[in-house]
């Protein structure tokens, strides 16, 4: 809402300089977002919140200034002497009273259309409204002063002496004042005569009845339309006008009357017209809103004692009617304050004028019984572990396009679609984090990063039993060649499958999960199982020239149930262990986890540990084979084992490896 200092000054005496006024308004909730000196005046722009349509008028703002500075609001009076009240058979028809609460038509004859006087032009231009002609300018001027939009029709363009407020017929047409041909439908409220549409009610007028240089007689409309219909039509047609903005926030009959009469008065003085008809259709119910207000509410909700006298002064200055009663204040709410309906609304008014800055600060005692969210603890723990393993956290958009999902080999039919995306990239909610991670990897390799190691924890979405579901997911991705400086010099290592597997194993280990296993899947990837449940997978994607990215996704929603963060100390073993290593050559394609599992079984009852301590390919090993060293640890919990006990057991293990896995012992 724009206004000027001098214009405002006509309605309330301002003792403050413009800058100081801006400060006072801002601190009372009328945030001044723009202030500029222009043509000897100061232009203000205030951000008006949607609950205060009464502030979409200079009088409304003047009323606030009066309350804030202890001044009186100045409202002029209009002389209505020239109105003689001709009788006329002019008719106003309102098709549905729900669409139009009130319609007032005034007919002014013998006006002279021309350009506006300079003062009027200047006012409008300062607040950003283009001057059209004196009639249109007056309607705009009055709208800015009172907040009530008005519309003037060229009376001679109307067929028959009537105005009809009705819904448009399907496909009915109207060329609006912005030169656009609008195709209407029955959801649109229009102003019409017997034969044709004249205007989109409350939004914009039509070309066919617009004021021109030749206009002699006008019909001045002042009405209150259903805000919802104006809002919907405005949204549907994509038009925003000062008029629609006000209609959709709600208007008020008392103000309509004043605005309309002021317009007539100005037209008489500026355009020389004569009022010959004033007719109103519709009678809005007058309901005085009363709130019984207990002054204790102030202390209870603000935490400060404000003297009742002060409270009354504040409320009266805002135009409220206050009566002191035994237990409460009886407060009559002025009709233009549609935002006030509860005691708390009154509290806010008091606080606003009293000044939020004058309310003290205090600290509440908090006694809440909410137990800590384990899920959150887990997420933070997982992030800590992954950061410790050298991965960087990324955050990527949850929305994507179907194409991206498809390119990655994901079923886009399962994806939840967005009804109103702004662009293709917001078409669906992603069903996996991995396409986003792959993009981040490619982006960073293109930025000449040697290697990338990243993770993201976020929701993924899909339909389950036709209801959209979210699942918390962990995505991991690595790619590139990592240079590592060691005491022996530089080592360059390509980030590969085993690095990613290692990260996952370390993560699971630190989360206290040990019943996991990896299994080959049909898509040439690896699935991660916890017990019998598949909770994730690892896969490879070729990117750029000869480069590979390794990606993994794990369902945290499912993983959480397996996490054991509590620790328990295991005493050191009492008896010494005997360690035997087996080195052998093995055909490639053997699933080594299975081999280890077999060794463990074979080495019972004393084999406590079997793990890979070395593996190698290359010259020493024939092609198609790989070398492997497995360390076996034997121990008893009851006594010191002897070589004689371990040797046959270990021989059995070696024999099994040779026979069952075709290994050649080295």
């Amino acid at each position: 809402m724009r206004f000027t200092y001098n214009w405002l000054n006509e309605f309330v005496e301002i003792k403050l300089k413009p800058q100081a006024l801006a400060q006072v308004l801002t601190m009372a909730g009328l945030e001044v977002v723009f202030l500029e000196e222009k043509e000897g005046d100061f232009v203000f722009e205030i951000e008006i919140t949607s609950n205060r349509p009464d502030l979409l008028s200079i009088i409304g703002i003047a009323r606030e200034v009066a309350a804030l500075t202890g001044k009186k609001l100045k409202l002029g009076s209009f002389s209505l002497k020239s109105y003689r009240g001709f009788n006329s058979n002019f008719k106003i028809e309102i098709e549905d009273r729900n669409d139009c609460l009130l319609y007032n038509a005034k007919i002014i004859k013998n006006i002279k259309v021309g350009s506006s006087p300079d003062w009027l032009k200047q006012r409008l231009e300062l607040v950003g409204c283009r001057s059209i002609n004196n009639i249109v300018d007056i309607t705009n001027y009055v709208m800015f002063v009172w907040g009530q939009p008005l519309h003037a029709f060229d009376l001679d363009k109307l067929d028959d002496c009537c105005i009809i407020v009705r819904r448009a017929k399907d496909k009915e047409e109207l060329i609006t004042l912005d030169g656009q041909k609008r195709i209407l439908d029955p959801q649109t409220l229009i102003i019409a005569d017997k034969k044709k549409a004249l205007a989109l009610a409350g939004i914009i007028g039509g070309e066919n009845s617009q004021i021109s240089q030749n206009t002699q007689h006008i019909l001045l409309e002042a009405a209150i339309f259903n805000p919802l219909i104006i809002r919907r039509t405005r949204q549907r047609l994509g038009i925003q006008t000062e008029s629609a903005y006000r209609f959709e926030r709600g208007l008020e009959p008392q103000i309509l009357k004043s605005a309309s009469w002021e317009a007539v008065d100005l037209m008489r003085r500026i355009c020389g017209g004569m009022l010959i008809l004033d007719k109103t259709q519709g009678r809005p119910k007058k309901k005085d809103k009363i709130i019984y207000f207990n002054s204790q509410q102030v202390k209870r909700s603000l935490g400060i004692e404000i003297d009742q006298k002060k409270i009354i002064t504040i409320l009266v200055s805002l135009g409220f009617k206050v009566k002191k009663q035994k237990k409460a204040l009886k407060i009559g709410i002025p009709s233009y304050r549609k935002d006030i309906s509860l005691e708390m609304d009154i509290v806010e008014e008091i606080a606003r004028i009293y000044g939020y800055e004058n309310i003290p600060t205090s600290l509440p005692k908090v006694l809440t019984k909410i137990e800590p969210d384990l899920k959150r603890t887990y997420i933070l723990k997982i992030k800590d572990i992954l950061i410790g393993l050298g991965l960087d956290e990324v955050l990527t958009y949850s929305l994507t396009d179907k194409e991206t999902l498809k390119d990655f080999g994901l079923e886009s039919k399962e994806a939840v679609s967005i009804l109103n995306p702004l662009s293709k990239e917001q078409e669906v909610l992603r069903t996996s984090l991995l396409p986003s991670l792959l993009n981040i990897i490619i982006h960073n390799l293109n930025q000449k990063q040697n290697y990338v190691r990243i993770f993201e924890i976020a929701h993924i979405f899909s339909f389950l039993n036709d209801r959209p579901q979210e699942e918390l997911s962990l995505g991991l991705g690595i790619a590139g060649v990592k240079p590592t400086l060691t005491c022996q010099g530089l080592i360059k290592e390509e980030m590969g499958f085993l690095h990613l597997k290692g990260i996952i194993q370390m993560l699971l280990d630190r989360l206290g999960i040990d019943n996991y296993s990896f299994k080959l899947n049909e898509k040439e990837g690896i699935d991660l199982y916890l017990g019998k449940e598949r909770i994730g997978f690892i896969l490879m994607r070729s990117i750029l020239k000869n480069k590979k990215a390794y990606l993994a996704e794990i369902s945290l929603t499912r993983l959480f149930g397996f996490i054991r963060l509590e620790k328990r100390f295991t005493p050191f073993p009492v008896y010494p262990a005997i360690i035997r290593d087996i080195s052998f050559i093995l055909k490639e394609g053997t699933f080594i986890e299975e081999l280890i599992e077999e060794i463990r079984r074979q080495g019972q009852p004393f084999l406590k540990e079997a793990r890979v301590i070395d593996f190698y390919k290359g010259k020493q090993v024939p092609p198609g084979f790989q070398g492997l060293t497995i360390s076996c640890l034997y121990r008893s919990d009851e006594r010191t084992l002897t070589e004689e006990e371990v040797n046959p057991l270990h021989d059995g293990v070696v024999k099994m490896v040779v026979e069952k896995f075709n290994a050649r012992i080295r």
């Binding site: 945030e31 606080a351 909410i370 050298g390 995306p421």
Partner: protein, 350 residues
Amino acid sequence: MSDFDFDQIQKTVEAELERITSFQQLQVFQHKYLGRKGVIPSLTRQLSKLEPVQRRQLGQRINALKQRLINYIAEKEPLFKTQASSQSFSLSELSLPGIAQELGHLHPITRVIEEICGVFMRMGFSVVEGPEIETEYNNFTGLNIPLEHPARDVFDTFYLEPRAWIRDRKELKERLLLRSHTSPVQIRVMRARKPPLAVVVPGRVYRPDAVDASHSFMFHQIEGFMVDEDIRFSDLKGVLEVFLKAIFGQEISMRFRPHFFPFTEPSAEVDIGCIICKGEGCSVCSRKGWLEILGAGMIHPNVFKNVGYDPNKYTGFAFGLGVERIAMLKYSINDIRLFFENDLRFLKQF
């Protein structure tokens, strides 16, 4: 070679022993006397040239000295080794880069969320999270934002497309959407629990905004609220003061301006004195000298009614803030897109 010579040697040995202070010196000493071409072996080799009596006498003395040196070295070696005196490195070795496992980095948004939640947790708040897919009721209606009300204009929202057969069924009145703010978690928590409550809610939110340097269709918010029998506006001011000072420093100035939110009454917008220009007015604060940081207010009685709380019994406050905005101010980031581009040159700075 005579006894006299040996006395001289023994003296020199003792003097040199005195001066040994490092492992390296010890090694040099060991090499000089006990090495294959060292003093003692060469003395031993010369013994054969001596008379038998002399040979035996000197031989015993040489052996005694040799034993003494061996013992001495055995005793001192571990000591010097563990001393790890920096003198034992060469300068070039010392100035090479250190070797350590590289650590990853938390995303700056996570850092800010954790920092903010940490402040509130120290004040006794619990952290709760909610789903990103919400019902229209929790996102709007329950929060006193009526359907088709101008108040909804500021909350442009992504709606979900229902499955075809559900779309045709009349009984499914409720549309699903991507939450446009974290406030629906207020409804969820209050419906599930009774006061007293002190909760903060971090999370992703979505609004159909065209992406530019200061807008993103996905961003993060933190919601906070407290409900009990005696929570007042002054408590809101106090809690937010503690919070803002913890995040932006004790010297920060702040102001509460009246504002409108459908779910709070009275409502406020909270500004801090611009941390870039210290209130002088600059491009970051649009010459205002103030930065809008969060929205807040006393929870609206209608919201209490919607969750089944008695507004005459309970009062409470709520606030909400944009994490990206705070992170941008805190870390001097000028483009919101940097958060979602995930360039490692950006991420590795945090």
